[in-house]
């Protein structure tokens, strides 16, 4: 035995092909996910240079950002969106990568499809031209977002030029209160470390509250590692991980699965391994979270009031808060529960999985969306949609007055027609509350699926724990 190693150290070491004098490494990439927005220029670059995709079988592509979430039988109406999806269709056909086209049952948000198919595995390196690739860290995969030039590099070489990250441990111990979810954990962590707190790090999430989460919950936590500045989040694989993977279409089968599990069991961080930074949270202290500003670090417990520039000392932060409040149309000191909302969006790679829809349906059951609110549920994939319909969740949502849509990224970033109008205020289960993210002038409050339903039925940001569950 050498020095004790972290989960990150182990995955990194097992993927280094060579190291230069300045520490820059060439690392092998086991799995590559592709979507239509960040890949066309990469395929074009390959064509222009006369290069081939080195391992088409290690790449999985699916259109998600531009797809309509309404009836798709007529195709995509917007010409630029249609061209982008058609370009992916063509590139997938030309190169032989795995591909789920828009009308395939398995189509969905790339970060929901990867795990569903068993494409995501512990101990692998995995990349995508999408910052929320961190999601797959829930399986103990080193997964991170890359730019289009790097997409092209991976397609051509199945490798990337990278420097190792530093190790950060975020430990959440204790039991969550009822009504508090993985989303609240991940928002509370970002509130603590700030939106740049994880820059240069890979965050490993550990502690009893993390271990107690389902795989879906763990994906929600890792999904937002990037919102804390970390390119990747990681959670040690365990029996829950192995059970989730078993039997999925692209996962190893039979003896290969057993052999893989034996290896996966060696991945968790060794006792005494060094972390460059450690942050600890008590799960008991976390109550439902909601953002009030235009950065994910602008987050507070639902019981709080909107903060103001006087609450901070740093001049840059004062300015940022002033700008945020003006954009958000909020006044410092207003109780968050008095903030009236117009729209509700349930979905995205953060909260578009079956567990999220179940949690939302529990609150929606027997209630009605407030007359002043337009609310929609967008399943994360065709398979999530099918499962939800088999469980009757769609009927609960429809009876409550929610729209029930086709799968895709939808109003998380509003590249398709699902978007906010200027000034509209949305309770959203997505991951970014940036200015204009959900539509120019739109105002986003990030929260959990259960909290989103609470907002939909009352018309205001609401502590879901005040609603009786029937």
């Amino acid at each position: 035995m050498g020095n004790p190693k972290t989960l990150f150290d182990k995955i990194w070491a097992s993927h280094v092909i060579n190291t230069q004098d300045d520490g820059t490494c060439l690392i092998y990439i086991d799995r590559h996910l592709v979507h239509e927005v960040t890949s066309p220029q990469a395929f074009e670059g390959l064509r222009n240079a006369g290069r081939k995709v080195r391992h088409p079988e290690l790449t999985l592509a699916v259109p998600d950002h531009n797809v309509p979430t309404t009836d798709r039988s007529q195709g995509i109406k917007e010409e630029d969106s249609r061209i982008q999806v058609d370009t992916l269709d063509q590139n997938a056909r030309d190169t032989g990568i795995h591909y789920f086209p828009m009308n395939d049952l398995r189509q969905g948000i790339v970060h929901i499809v990867g795990p569903e198919e068993g494409f995501t595995l512990p101990g692998v390196t995995m990349v995508c031209g999408d910052s929320h690739t961190s999601t797959h860290g829930a399986f103990g995969a080193l997964a991170f977002g890359i730019g289009t030039s790097e997409v092209e590099h991976v397609l051509a070489t199945q490798t990337l030029v990278q420097k190792p990250a530093k190790n950060m441990l975020v430990k959440v111990e204790g039991d969550l209160h009822p009504g508090v979810t993985a989303k609240d954990i991940t928002l509370a962590i970002i509130g603590r470390i700030g939106t740049a707190g994880g820059t240069g790090f890979v965050i490993e999430y550990a502690g009893s509250a993390i271990r107690a989460l389902s795989m879906e919950g763990r994906m929600t936590v890792c999904n937002m590692a990037i919102e804390g500045g970390a390119r990747a989040g990681l959670i040690a694989p365990d029996e829950k991980t192995f059970d989730y993977i078993k039997g999925r279409p692209m996962a190893p089968k039979g003896a290969a699965y057993e052999q893989a599990v034996e290896y996966w069991k060696t991945l968790p961080t060794d006792d005494g391994a060094h972390y460059d930074k450690v942050v600890e949270l008590d799960a008991n202290d976390i109550i439902p979270q909601v953002t009030w500003g235009t950065s994910p670090e602008d987050v507070a417990p639902i019981s709080a009031v909107v903060p103001g520039p006087d609450d901070v000392t740093d001049a840059g932060k004062k300015k940022a808060i002033t700008r945020s409040l003006e954009y958000m149309g909020l006044v410092a000191g207003t109780p968050l529960e008095e903030v009236k909302i117009d729209r509700v969006f349930i979905g995205s790679c953060t909260n578009g999985r079956i567990e999220d829809l179940r949690a939302a349906a529990v609150v929606a059951k027997g209630r009605k969306v407030a007359a002043s609110v337009n609310a929609m549920v967008v399943p994360g994939s065709g398979l999530v949609k099918e499962q939800a319909e088999a469980e009757g969740l769609d009927q609960i949502f429809l009876e409550a007055g929610f729209e029930w849509r086709e799968p895709g990224c939808s109003m998380c970033l509003a590249m398709n027609p699902d978007r906010l109008e200027p000034g509209e205020r949305c309770a959203s289960t997505s991951n970014r509350n940036f200015e204009g993210r959900q539509g120019r002038g739109g105002r986003t409050h990030l929260l959990s699926p259960a909290m989103a339903v609470a907002a939909a039925v009352t018309g205001y940001l609401t502590d879901v724990r005040k609603l009786e569950i029937v």
């Binding site: 092909i17 060579n18 230069q20 004098d21 300045d22 820059t24 060439l26 092998y28 086991d30 927005v37 960040t38 220029q41 074009e44 290069r51 079988e57 290690l58 950002h65 531009n66 630029d80 061209i83 370009t87 595995l121 692998v124 031209g129 910052s131 977002g145 890359i146 730019g147 030039s149 790097e150 092209e152 590099h153 070489t157 199945q158 490798t159 030029v161 420097k163 740049a196 820059t199 500045g229 390119r231 290969a256 699965y257 052999q259 893989a260 290896y263 950065s295 840059g316 932060k317 940022a320 970033l413 509003a414 590249m415 200027p422 970014r432 940036f434 200015e435 204009g436 993210r437 120019r440």
Partner: protein, 203 residues
């Protein structure tokens, strides 16, 4: 990729924290299948109003900064989405160097792939360059990558760090993929070993 050795130009001040890539290039402009032509949409929602007219107060709309080649800005620049459209739009506008106290990781990487030099400096150095930049067209700054020096309008000099490999690629305008393909034997060897040790990874 164009080489980057020295750059002399006007620096534009953008004193904001956490400028995210949605601000740099909003998603409605990501529907292109090309890398070119995005400069006109750089900072679109801060630069233009709902009618598409210029917002006079925005720095890049002011006469002194219309041809800026350098941006001086706040911490955590480029956070959020991995979209390479952000450096593409900056480059297309004419920005080839960004100076800030810190950068988000993915954006920082993406800059080097496109011949844009991101320079992280201590806050007090950024504050000094921000004051210089606010002087407008008189505030010409020179960046020398070989020497790793920034020379301000008053002749003051600030040293900066850059990783040796990135510097080498920038100075020579090298294509990463071409370099990596030269290591084909090492990659083949790694794959052969992996096929034996972790056979379940093959698909």
């Amino acid at each position: 990729m164009d080489k980057f050795d020295t750059l002399t130009g006007v620096a534009a001040p953008l004193p904001m924290l956490n400028v995210d890539t949605d601000m740099i290039i909003p998603k409605q402009f990501l529907k292109t299948i090309k890398r070119s032509g995005l400069g006109k949409n750089l900072f679109d929602e801060m630069r233009f109003d709902d009618n598409g007219d210029e917002i006079p107060g925005f720095v890049l709309n002011q006469p002194a900064y219309r041809n800026a080649k350098i941006l001086v800005t706040g911490a955590n620049f480029g956070c959020g989405s991995s979209r390479e459209h952000a450096p593409w739009s900056l480059l297309d506008f004419g920005i080839r160097c960004i100076i800030a106290p810190s950068f988000a990781d993915i954006f920082y990487n993406n800059c080097f792939k496109n011949g844009i030099l991101p320079i992280a400096l201590p806050q007090e150095d950024v504050d000094k360059l921000m004051l210089d930049a606010e002087r407008g067209a008189n505030a010409t700054v020179t960046i020398d990558l070989e020497k790793q020096e920034i020379t301000g309008p008053d002749g003051g000099c600030i040293k900066f760090d850059v990783e040796p490999f990135r510097k080498h690629c920038m100075l020579n305008g090298l294509d990463d993929i071409g370099l990596t393909l030269q290591q084909g034997d090492a990659i083949n060897g790694f794959e052969a070993e992996r096929a034996l040790s972790q056979p379940w990874l093959s698909l």
